[in-house]
Symmetry: C2
Subunit: 208 residues, 2 copies
Amino acid sequence: MESSRRGPYAKGVAKREEILTQALTVVAERGVQDTSVKAIADAVGLSPAGVLHYFSSKEELFTEVLRKRDEVDSQRVAGLDWGGLGEASGSGEPIDVASARKQFVELLESNSDVPGLLRLFTQLAAEAADPEHPAHGFFRERGELFRSLFAAVFAQHNRDHGRTRVDPEVAARMLQALADGLQLQALLEPDVDMAGIADAFFDAVLGD
Amino acid sequence: MESSRRGPYAKGVAKREEILTQALTVVAERGVQDTSVKAIADAVGLSPAGVLHYFSSKEELFTEVLRKRDEVDSQRVAGLDWGGLGEASGSGEPIDVASARKQFVELLESNSDVPGLLRLFTQLAAEAADPEHPAHGFFRERGELFRSLFAAVFAQHNRDHGRTRVDPEVAARMLQALADGLQLQALLEPDVDMAGIADAFFDAVLGD
DNA sequence: GTCTATACCTAGATAGAC
DNA sequence: GTCTATCTAGGTATAGAC
């Protein structure tokens, strides 16, 4: 009929969510390499084609898994509040530098608890170098958000202390690089004290 | 015969080298994703099976390519001399901190010129998280070498200036993370000023 | 709109001939 | 030392069942 507007896609949306959640689990357990579309399909009780009904390709699926992880992260870490941080940077309110620093270190630690996802993140980031890759935009935007957030934090610190040790934009880039690099190290040597290194970095950049 | 030791493997060794050299070129041009064993085989005038006669798997081949790149790097960068740096750190001779810093930045810049290899490096590093991966040992050893080298550099700086701003071991780890992270960023945004960021880092850690 | 079955294609790996 | 042939696994496109 023409009036085919009774959209029964509530179920579809739910299924899509379920696929993402399960994929998150499977990837965390087995790593990206060993996660086929079939493995995800099995976990969710579908055929591979059934899964690809919701995502145009495996790469896009993984990209969405990453988005999902970002959501989960922001709820899992106690006291983490990217949103609030973002707002504060836009408005005139002063930013709590110590709190931002603490949140960042906590986020680092929580990441290292799930090596499978760390691997997904790093590998996809490398693959997303290609502008055609579905995750390319995701990573660029994520990086920009991260840097603008922490550039604001560093700028606040400079105001508080009346000096500029390191340019806030540069410091934000350094922090981003440090975080990504530490995660790479943690993949190879799970014992790395990421929080300790990150703390030392803040000390060095902010001045003791 | 027992004395079957007349090894006609001079040719084999040469061919193996040729495969590595060609693979280096192919990967640099097309990126890891688009480099199949067949592509390398074509470049070197063999069949895929012919190539895999020399390497037990594609992963192992790529690992060797990375090793090869490390060799090439140390010759390509003007004035770079890891060997000398390593020796100096072992002996009692003082290390030229400024020179080490300069070499490091130059190496960073030269790396960013070849995104294909950058990607190979980063992706393989992520995959090598698995202890079973052929590149696992390579990356761990490489990281340890890097850190011991630069820990010595930072220690020397501390001696020269009679103070300890950051623990040398910690600083070395930070530098390694920064380098890896910057390369990741450079993959997504080719315009990143890696050398500038790295320089700012040295300024912050060494003290102006 | 949701999903299965099927078929197809690429690619890494292996066996055995030369 | 190298090739041909073959096996297997996995991603993707299509047709059509429900």
